[in-house]
Structure formats: structure tokens, C-alpha cells
């Protein structure tokens, strides 16, 4: 049996001043995680905690939030980690505007991808590239942006979630797009990244961000070929 106090930073609207609320939570499920706890808790709350989730198996990135000061996916955070302390603190991501409770508006993340024009303009085969595969696994959850000392919403640095998508494109970028994408990469990724690599340890998908970054820098900035490519 797991017994925990869930401390959740709550607000009904963006304008409201947030307040920590504490809930006693108990479950017989030793494998329970923050996502299942929130779902359970909401069954009995008059004002359910607003949060976003979808797949519940760390494949969609919807439930990113700050759990004990660390950006994580609720569905990938087992409660048993907190049993000893008896309490866990849950709050919304801080780099994005809060909508209510644990919901944040991550629109800026997607707008950055549009600003950088991250797409293929013409047919492009990646030929089973391992780099393209690894890069395609990015959840666009925002955990890497949250932990990054250089990213802030509205700034020029688009962060590693934009780097991963660029990394896929770079494996097969048509000549006609090279100038523009290389320039975007330099402006929105390379020049903003302070190489703290704080992002390396928080990716819920376990993407080797530092390796992708080195490769992408090599291609887009130093005009070298990919390393580690088959």
C-alpha cells in the first residue's frame, strides 16, 4: 500500500494567484505513478485537477510537469520514489504560460518549428537512417526546454526540441533547402545553446540529445558529414 501526500500547485485560470493544495492519497497499486494518482484523485474531487494526458505510457509527452523540481512525465514517475519522503510536489512547467492547474500552453514550441521552416520542400529519403529514427522519436513534451538555462518562451533560442526535428531533416536535406535551414539552425539553435547539456538527462524518450546535437552542428554549422551514421 502506498500512502502519500500530493502537493499540487493549483489555480483556476491564468490570472489567479496559484495556491499549494495538499491531498492525502492512498493506493494498493505498487506500480502507480503520478498520472494514475491524478486520475484517481480526480474521481473524488469536486473541482478536479486540470492536467493533460493521453497515452499514459510515455510515448506522447502530454503529461509533462514539474515533479519535485524536475521536469518529468507524470506517467513515467512512479509513486514509490516518494514513499520514503511521504510527500511529492507537483506543479506546471514554468517556461510556458499556465492555463489552469497543471496545464500549460506549449504553442510557442510548435510556433518555433514553423518559424524555422522545419519540413521537406521536396521528396527526401532518409534511407533508414538511425539518426533520423532517433530524432523522430522526440515527443515535443518540453522537458528539455524547461531544464535549459538558455531557453525562454519568446526568445530566439528554439531549444533541443527543434534541434531533434532539424536532425531528421539534415539526414536528407535537399540542396535547395540547405542555405535556409543551415541559417535557421545557426540562428535558432547553435547560437543560443550554451552547451550546459542539462537536457541530456531529462528526455523522457531517452533520446541521446548530445549526440544528435554534435552531429547536427557538424552538418549545419561546420558543413561536415554525420558521424555515427551507418
Amino acid at each position: 500500500m502506498i500512502n502519500l501526500k500530493l502537493e499540487i500547485l493549483r489555480r483556476k485560470s491564468p490570472e489567479e494567484i496559484p495556491v499549494w493544495k495538499c491531498y492525502d492519497y492512498q493506493t494498493p497499486d505498487d506500480h502507480a505513478n503520478i498520472a494514475s494518482a491524478l486520475n484517481d484523485l480526480n474521481q473524488n474531487l469536486e473541482n478536479p485537477v486540470r492536467w493533460e494526458c493521453s497515452c499514459l505510457q510515455k510515448k506522447c509527452g502530454a503529461c509533462a510537469m514539474i515533479i519535485n523540481q524536475k521536469p518529468r512525465l507524470a506517467c513515467d514517475t512512479p509513486l514509490k520514489e516518494f514513499v520514503k519522503a511521504g510527500t511529492v510536489r507537483i506543479e506546471p512547467l514554468r517556461k510556458f504560460p499556465v492555463i489552469a492547474d497543471l496545464i500549460v500552453d506549449r504553442t510557442i514550441l510548435f510556433e518555433n518549428l514553423k518559424t524555422m521552416k522545419l519540413w521537406f520542400e521536396e521528396e527526401a529519403k532518409t534511407n533508414g537512417s538511425q539518426i533520423a529514427y532517433e530524432a523522430s522519436r522526440c515527443l515535443q513534451c518540453g522537458c528539455c526546454l524547461e531544464i535549459c538555462p538558455n531557453f525562454y518562451a519568446g526568445g530566439d533560442f528554439a531549444g533541443m526540441s527543434a534541434m531533434t526535428l532539424t536532425a531528421r531533416l539534415l539526414t536528407a536535406l535537399p540542396d535547395s533547402q540547405k542555405k535556409e535551414i543551415f541559417k535557421a539552425y545557426r540562428n535558432y539553435i547553435y547560437e543560443g545553446c550554451g552547451k550546459s547539456l542539462a537536457c541530456r538527462n531529462v528526455c523522457p524518450a531517452g533520446i541521446r540529445i548530445d549526440q544528435l546535437l554534435v552531429n547536427s552542428n557538424a552538418v549545419a554549422v561546420w558543413k561536415r558529414k554525420f558521424r555515427h551514421e551507418k
Binding site: 506500480h31 474521481q43 510515448k59 500552453d105 527526401a124 533520423a132 529514427y133 522519436r137 526535428l165
Partner: protein, 524 residues
Amino acid sequence: MQNVIIIGAGLAGLSAAVTLAEKQISCALISLQNSERAQSVLAEGGINAALNTMDENDTVQNHYEDTLRGGVWLADPNAVRNLTSHAPEIVRWLENLGVPFNMTDSDIMLRNFGGQKKKRTAYAQSSTGKIIMTALIDQVRKYEASGLIHRYAHHNFIKLLLENQICSGVRIQNLYTGEITDFKGIVLLCSGGLNGMFPAVTTGTTQNSGDVTATVFRQGVRLGNLEMLQYHPTTIGISGKRCLVTEAARGEGGRLYIMKNNQKFYFMEEKYPELKNLMPRDVVAREMFFVRREFGGEVFLDMTELPEIAWQKKLSDLRLEIIHYLNLDPKSNPIPVREGIHYFMGGIDTDEFHRTNIKNLFAAGECCCQYHGANRLGGNSMLGALYGGRKASETIIHTADFVSEENINYSGEIPSPASPVLIQKISQILLSGLGIVRNQNSLQTALENLQSLSGQKEYNFYEQNRLLLAEAMLLSALERKESRGAHYREDYPDQNEEFRKTAVSEYDKTIRIFFRPIPEMRSD
């Protein structure tokens, strides 16, 4: 302003949006969350196409026949002909969008999947859905930037706008601001399967609530074959849901067994020597149910003899997932697996052109009843979604009269969501009737329990819709007095040609179920 409104931004919705954009037709792409959160990202094993890259003399005809046979002759053969003949072109299209499929030395590699004798399933390790979605989302972004696709993430479908059985748009709520808007245009529903009718026991997402289907049913949209739920043979229970173990595990050599007299009994290999562990999913799931009932204990999936290369290049994600959730390494340990609700072959009733019974309303993807008959073959879902979305858009392009009207703000009442307690009660009732093995008694009892629940109090908008859909699901299962594909009736264990028809559910003050013949195969 937009010409077409697409509800849902998974594979079907994105495919439809790109098809429209390529013809310079604008659309509003409406979804509860961004596409990265769509259920399509959970698809694992691959996508079928008779590319014949493995020297097995595979043909479109084989794919067509396997799909019809797998669906136990309940699918529209003309639609399946279209689907399978366009499959190679669709996979090549994905390849050209930069999807990093696993490759042979020179071409796309294919793997074995259930119900098919030839290697026909193109894949990207065991995360094929996610990898395809990333490429497709990039492509959609191009048209978002050029103003042809207008994305409305975090928006909820409330209902169709209908005038004299003609659809003129949808009522939508912005979940971040609460604002409600009437969007005007042709409507294409790509809202996914009915997972939310069975919360916590399917392999799907929490976002596929079934509310769209339930609502449009109440508004007069016909549904088809609601009794056809696919139980995937290999799932594992994790907190809050069932987690899929891809059919590719068996495609790459995984074997199912149960302990019988202290020995491993490879029941699928013994009973089905030709396709063995790769029989269609309905057969495997049913056999698992029966052997468990007979011998007790759990069924195990044994992947311990898979070659190292399979773990490195084909199933690396699956291995990590199993270790994460079961604390067992499938390389060295068989894992216990159970059947879990995975896919809905039934849904919004459409013709092969993806038209519903309401003018200017179309449906594609898992929300619609098309292509898969009584049982879907593994590898055909992503194909059905991509092709269906495209086909629906083509129909719209060729036949619809576009009217450009401004969206209108709506200031009326916002319906409350359904109570989680009621959702659970309905789910329990449905599960008691719609298990892998069904009969008149259990279905009738479930129906009576549901009707009693319906009469207990006044329910809100979403609750009423959900109760109606649940009732139609049970009635449809009761009326199909035969066993076919995913619908197995102990009291009618045989297939009956009389029922080789679509079970159509219709609501107009009361629910009516009628059977409509499957279209004949055209010779063109």
C-alpha cells in the same frame, strides 16, 4: 475561414489535411491536443503494402484476399481493393516524406504479420506510428505556414451543426479559453476509436473518449458493426491501461505457450500449423482465452530465441518497454500476456468513398467502419487511416460544394463532461456483455443493467450520448446471431451467411438495428 473542418489530428486527419492542401483547399484541423499526443503515435509494428521487396512474390491480390479473409468477408470488397492497391504507393509516399523505415541493402524491409503468409509489413523498429507521425506532422507544418491548414489544438468537438439532415459545420470549444465557436464547412470526422467507452482497459489513449461518435449517433449519423471490438492477444497491464506488445514480437519469431501438465504447450503451433502464432488476432485471442480457461495460469510470450539482430535493429524499443514495465528482460524471460481491447472495427458507417448518411459529413480512420470487416489484420490500421483520410478528402474535392462562411461565436450553455463514475459503470456493463466470448444471456443481462442505469436519473448531454452508444453496441451484438471474426457467440458458434451483412445502428427517438448486404465486387 476554411472549406473543410477535420475533427482529429492523428494519421487519418493529417493525411486528409495534406490531401486537401495539395489541391489548395483550406481546412481547419481540430483536435483535443497536438498531433504528437494522438493515438497514432502508439502504433508499433508497421504498415502493410505488397511492395514485394523480400522475393516472396507478394501481390496486391494477396493483400486484398488476406484482408477480406482476415475480416471474415464482412468488409466492402471494393473499398478493400482500393485500399490494398494504393498501399504500395502510400508507403513510397511516406518513404519520400523521409520516414526512416528499416531497410534491406537496397529497399524497404518487410516483416511477417498476423493473418498474412507473405512478408508485407513495412516498419521502423517497433515505433512505426510515432516515426510516421513525425514525418507527416512536418509535412502538415509546411501547409500551416502557407495558410492552407489552420490548426486548432486544445479544441473540443461539441456537436454537428445540422439543417434538414445536411451538415453545415461543427460547434467547437476552446479548452484553454472556454470560448465556443460554430465553424462552418464540410465536416470530416477522424476522431479515433471508442477506447473511452472502456477506460483503463484498452491499449489506446485517454483522448479517444468515444464522445464524438456517441454525439453524432444521437444526432442521426448511422454506425456500423459496433459489436466488432478487437482484442489484441498480447498486452500487459500497467497502471491505468493495457500496454501493447506488438504483433511484430511474434512476427520476428515470438511464441505463445501455456503450462500444461508442467510442460510448455505451444497451443497455436499445435492447432494452426500453417500460420502458427501469426493467425489473425481474433483467432489467437480466442485460443488464449480457451487455453487459460482449460489449463489455468497465464499465457506466456516467449521471445528468448529471437536472434540478437532482432533486438538491436527491429524491436529495441519494445525490449526497453517490457523491462521498464515488467522488470523482466524478454531476451531471457518469457513474459505473461493477456488479451486487451485494442481496436474498433465498427464505428461511423460510411461507403467506400467515406460518405456518411448525412450530406456533407464524412468519416475516416478508426472512428469509421471501413476496410477491416469483422477483424482487422495487424499492419492494416495505419494503412486504413492514411488511405481513408486521403480517400475522404478526394471525395470531398470531387463532389462537395464549398461554401465559404465566417465562423460564428456562440454564447450559449457549455455542456458538462460525463461523470467519471457513470463512465466506469457503463464500461463495467459493456465488458460483462462484450467479452471475447459472448452469449444471449450475458448480453441480455448487460442490456437490462444498462437500461436500468439509463432510467435512474436525468443525465447530461455527454452522459445521454454515451448511454445511447453503449445500448447500440449491446443491441448490435445481440442481433448478430452468429460467430464471425471478433464477435464470438457461444450460443451461435458458427458463421451464418445470412449475417454476412453490416449491422447498422440508427437512432431516431429509439435505436434500430438493421442488416445491410455487403456490396458486390465490381468488375472494373
